[in-house]
């Protein structure tokens, strides 16, 4: 369940492992150097460039400078499709009304600019009893239940 990490009071994680303890680097510097295990993807970055290096990544932050810029949803999902198992964290202008979709696209951590209230978060995440599509999460789409 949501773990509100003590050092960073806006960070919410849906993972059991410990968070990475160093800052994320840009995609360009990640591709240039080899030591970093945390990277930050900006909306204009091509997340596919990370795919050959997924093994050494423990944290991918996907930045949402403005909530209306939805490129990060695709970045997240294509990394999960490529087999990335590490932490996928949405950062920036992340609002409670978007977290349910973000979870579906494979995000398992949130570090929003403005803190999210735990009760709002729970309401938002339990809002949708069902889903219509298969995505990067484990939820069973309605069409699959219909033909189970």
């Amino acid at each position: 369940m949501a773990d509100l990490s003590s050092e960073n009071d806006t960070l919410i994680r849906y993972r059991e492992d410990d968070p990475v303890d160093h800052a994320a680097v840009t995609v360009d510097s990640f591709l240039d150097q080899s030591s970093a295990s945390a990277v930050r993807v900006e909306p204009g970055d091509d997340a596919r460039e990370l795919i050959p290096h997924l093994e050494r990544l423990a944290l991918v932050e996907v930045n949402f400078p403005a909530f209306g810029d939805g490129r990060g949803y695709s970045s997240a999902r294509l990394l999960r499709e490529a087999g990335y198992k590490g932490e996928l964290r949405a950062v920036g202008d992340v609002l409670v009304d978007q977290v349910a979709y973000m979870r579906r696209c494979g995000f398992d951590a949130f570090d929003p600019d403005a803190p999210l209230s735990e009760s709002d978060l729970e309401t938002a995440l339990s809002r949708w009893p069902e889903v219509y599509q298969s995505a990067a999460d484990a939820r069973t789409p309605i069409w699959s239940k219909r033909h189970a």
Partner: protein
């Protein structure tokens, strides 16, 4: 027609609860208007010049009588007793209070309706051929595919914050009655070697930069339809422009990348997605298809129509369309009475249309993108009774596809983006042609009016188009000629300097007169224009 199961119902119910909560937070001052705006827009609630406007989705335009009754009840209970049917086969209410919006959504949910994704930068309501399931020339009923895509696109987690809104149309005949190639994605169900598949046209649209969608794939197998659409959307979501909202539609991406590069990117994405389990099983498409089987047409229904009443005969000639079942027609109810507001219907009229749909058309009616209503399956033997009832309620105008059958956006009477009024211009033009008696002689003449460059009234696709512009604070109208949204799709061209309100009505008549003078046997206005070009029209207009 499609009926919700428990899952579909749960989804709309959850949405009502979510919106009720959001509206309450707004009314309690816990959300600012800026924060609330994107949330209400996802539920079709716009803030307009005078009040909130609610846009209700009518998937592929299909309604049963119960739903039409509910729309009438909403008009009475929450609005001023009328609604406005739109070019995207939806209905809009113009006088809504925020306090009541959630109640309206709850009323809609009771009849399997909603306002989900009727605005916002997401995949919008999916439109289709209004004669689906009835048209003589269709390959199959396109609506099961539209419904499959409706479900796929509802609450899509990856595509709810696209660069811009996204409109999809699905057809299944070579005749295009849905302006398919003027959509972000137009899909035509086609047959190849005995197999059904989908041709994808991507990157059409109107707005300030109208474009006709190129065909990027002539055959996608049906069991890959959703996956291919997903690939098209992902490429757009990743690469569509977000720096300028006027360049954010997919048409600009396809244009700037070139359709070959775009297609290549889609194909690569598609290849990667094939193993991701995105496609619903074929059984789901088959389940949906069972809802769209033919109704029980009466075998051997009579082909006879008693044409002794000339007014009735005229209506039959103008407003009925050939049907695939012998003895049946599709009957169009015109929402374009002379001098009326195109697409408006009162609650009384909605109830009557609902009852007539139940009595004469297997409980089904459709909203057309031309802002009329069609009863898809009417026995010829019932036409006189149907017409009598319609005519008595001001719904019997015999003017389908004529110069009086005008498409007009809400314009400056309602819309906060408008430069000029559209509705009064439409009213004056229909009055002019009704008075001078030229409507019949002119035959098919599609006239479309938008109050600004956003082109909600499809002016680019009008045989005659009218565009409202703002000229130093005065309403001014440009005239366009030669557009078509049909299978012979083309974009209209501006004739020259604009006109004031009285001038534009005269200008339309002048253009019509040029056609009457120049036409050759069997030519429509559009055909004559295409043959003789702009010059004779310009000479007559600006001489």
């Amino acid at each position: 027609m499609y009926l919700y199961d428990q899952y579909d119902q749960q989804m709309v119910d959850a949405r009502v609860a979510e919106f009720r909560d959001q509206a309450k937070r707004r009314l309690d001052g816990k959300l600012t208007e800026d924060q609330f705006k994107p949330l209400r827009l996802m539920n079709g609630l716009y803030l307009q010049l005078h009040a909130y406007m609610l846009r209700v989705a009518i998937p592929y335009g299909t309604l049963n009588s119960r739903q039409m009754h509910a729309l009438a009840d909403i008009a009475d209970k929450y609005d001023r007793g009328y609604g406005h049917f739109t070019t995207r086969q939806n209905i809009q209410y113009n006088w809504i209070k925020l306090e009541e919006a959630a109640d309206i959504l709850a009323d809609l949910a009771k009849v399997e309706m909603h306002a989900i994704q009727t605005s916002g930068n997401c995949i919008r309501n999916i439109s289709s051929d209004h004669f689906a399931g009835a048209a003589k020339d269709e390959l199959v009923d396109p609506r099961p595919y539209a419904e499959l895509l409706r479900q796929w696109s509802s609450f899509h987690p990856e595509f709810s914050y696209l660069p811009r809104k996204f409109k999809i149309a699905v057809i299944a005949s070579d005749t295009d009655r849905a302006a398919m190639r003027l959509h972000d994605i137009g899909i035509q169900i086609v047959e190849q070697d005995g197999e059904l598949g989908a041709a994808f046209y991507v990157g059409g649209g109107m707005g300030r930069t109208p474009m006709i969608a190129p065909c990027i794939k002539d055959f996608v197998p049906l069991d890959r339809l959703v996956t291919y659409a997903e690939a098209c959307l992902r490429v757009y979501n990743r690469y569509g422009r977000r720096d300028n909202k006027y360049k954010a539609r997919i048409k600009i991406l396809v244009h700037e990348m070139g359709s070959e590069e775009y297609t290549k990117a889609v194909d690569e994405e598609f290849a990667r997605m094939l193993d991701e389990g995105i496609e619903p099983p074929f059984a789901e498409l088959e389940r949906i298809r069972t809802f769209f089987q033919d109704p029980a047409f009466e075998a051997g229904a009579s082909e006879e129509i008693d044409r002794s009443d000339p007014d009735f005969a005229l209506w039959v000639d103008r407003n009925t369309v050939a049907h695939k079942a012998p003895g049946y027609v599709s009957a169009v109810i015109s929402l374009k009475p002379v001098g009326g507001i195109p697409g408006d219907a009162t609650s009384e009229q909605m109830r009557l249309m609902a009852d007539l749909a139940k009595q004469f058309s297997f409980d089904e009616c459709r909203v057309m993108h031309t802002q009329n209503i069609v009863l898809p399956h009417v026995r010829k033997a019932d036409l006189h009774a149907l017409w009598t009832a319609l005519d008595g309620a001001g719904l019997g105008s015999p003017n389908l596809d004529t110069v009086e059958d005008i498409i007009a956006c809400p314009g400056l009477d309602y819309c906060s983006l408008a430069n000029a009024r559209s509705i009064p211009v439409a009213q004056k033009i229909s009055e002019r042609f009704a008075a001078n008696g030229k409507t019949a002689e002119l035959g098919q003449l599609k006239l479309k009016i938008s109050g600004c460059i956003n082109a909600c009234g499809h002016h680019h696709a009008g045989h005659i188009g009218i565009l409202g512009v703002d000229k130093k604070g005065v309403e001014n109208y440009q005239l366009l000629l030669g557009g078509s949204e049909a299978e012979d799709v083309s974009l209209a061209k501006i004739t020259g300097p604009g006109f004031d309100e009285a001038g534009i009505v005269d200008a339309v008549e002048t253009a019509a007169d040029v056609y009457l003078r120049e036409r050759q046997d069997g030519e429509r206005f559009l055909d004559t224009y295409r043959r003789i070009g702009m010059t004779p029209f310009k000479e007559a207009l600006y001489g």
